[in-house]
């Protein structure tokens, strides 16, 4: 009798332990960094929300959200406003530095058709390297002064490099390295974190409200939003880099922007690019 009671007690204890473990597992699993599942859910969210929009059209931002705007975009593409920047970028890209080397010496495949692989995780440094950062590092390594991350020269260079990748699917890799996963997760956290006096996150506009108006503008969906960078914005009357977009987004919600290419911005670009994998590069883009 005593033995049976003991067995019952042990069984009950084991069952309790198993239940406790089982209840702990789902929350652990929920907190696990899983970029593949994230990207799948991200894409599903937007394709469910906008069933009429073709997947590859999400890269056209607000133009994909509205038929009239889409027609405007098609007309704009006849004489694209970013063309001058593209030509400037091509000329800059091919012009050698004072030491005789050029941008082509800094990049795989001479820098042509590689935009879809940026940003990437650098294993040596343990950090994310964006295309804008790689371009300035290339300049500095060759004795040239770095360009401003928010001005026309950087926009022109990235416009040309994006153009040579047009139509190629975004192809961001996350290596099996805890530092890469941490950078991805930090980028995700930045994307969803509310900031500024207006208490907006990136997601407030680009997940919760794409297709809706904020003042006179139609908000772009987050899916494929980086595939079109850099962009000509009519509002700016000029070109804008990814850095310019991030910093102005912050100030528009009354948050003090961080410095361009600070870790937070590099990480959020990594996150946004990864979840847009498979969608075509469409940069340079044009926006209202």
């Amino acid at each position: 009798m005593k033995r049976r009671s003991a067995i019952t007690l042990v069984s009950a204890a084991l069952a309790f332990a198993a239940l406790t473990l089982a209840s702990a597992l789902p929350s652990d699993a929920a907190d696990k960094v899983d970029p593949v599942a994230d990207a799948k859910a991200f894409r599903k969210f937007f394709t469910d929300k906008f069933p009429k929009v073709k997947l590859e059209d999400f890269v056209n931002g607000p133009y994909s959200m509205n038929e009239d705007l889409y027609r405007q975009w098609q007309e704009k593409e006849q004489f694209p406003p970013y063309e001058f920047s593209l030509e400037m970028g091509k000329e800059m890209f091919s012009k050698p530095f004072k030491n005789g080397k050029s941008y082509a010496d800094c990049f795989p495949n001479g820098g042509i058709g590689i935009r879809q692989n940026y940003p990437y995780f650098d294993e040596k440094e343990g950090k994310i390297i964006t295309l804008e950062l790689a371009l300035n590092r290339c300049r500095e390594a060759n004795g040239e002064a770095p360009y401003s991350y928010v001005r026309d020269e950087m926009a022109a260079l990235t416009a040309y490099m994006a153009f040579t990748s047009r139509g190629k699917p975004m192809d961001i890799k996350i290596p099996d390295d805890p530092r890469a996963l941490a950078a991805y997760e930090n980028g995700k956290e930045y994307f969803y974190t509310r900031r500024g006096q207006l208490n907006f996150s990136c997601a407030t506009c680009h997940v919760q409200s794409p297709g809706e108006r904020i003042r006179a503008e139609i908000l772009a969906p987050a899916l494929g939003i980086v595939n079109a960078m850099p962009i000509y914005r009519s509002e700016w009357s000029g070109m804008g880099t990814t850095s310019r977009r991030f910093t102005t987004c912050n100030s528009q919600i009354r948050g003090v922007p961080l410095s361009p290419q600070d870790d937070e911005y590099r990480n959020v670009e990594y996150y946004l690019s990864y979840v847009s994998n498979g969608l075509p590069i469409s940069g340079p883009g044009a926006r209202p």
């Binding site: 969210f45 969803y192 974190t193 509310r194 900031r195 006096q197 208490n199 009354r254 948050g255 937070e264």
Partner: protein, 105 residues
């Protein structure tokens, strides 16, 4: 009666003058304390990478008013800046976990 009214008016005028001048004399110190508290809170928000543009603008307005000798106005702006900075700290702290509520899963 008229004399009494005149006296009362004089007393009131003196009291009113006193009411204005007394805080004005002490308000520079009050401004300095309020401004320092606002700056400290804003620096804390900076450590959390979450300063607000409105905090900076209100701090600047406070300084400008103090430079013009308008210490009451400067103190009020500094207190407002401190409140804004503290709100940005609260936001940064609470968002450490709240951001997950917005995540697409």
């Amino acid at each position: 009666m008229r004399n009494m009214m005149q006296k009362s008016a004089l007393v009131l005028a003196l009291l009113a003058a006193g009411a204005v001048s007394a805080p004005a004399a002490g308000s520079e110190d009050e401004f300095k304390a309020a401004y320092a508290a606002a700056e400290t809170a804003n620096k804390e928000a900076g450590k959390l990478r979450n300063q607000w543009t409105t905090t900076a603008a209100t701090l600047a307005a406070s300084k400008k008013a103090a430079e013009a000798g308008e210490f009451d106005k400067a103190t009020a702006s500094a207190k407002e800046a401190e409140a804004l900075a503290k709100a940005s700290i609260f936001q940064a702290t609470s968002e450490k976990t709240r951001w997950k509520e917005l995540e697409i899963r």
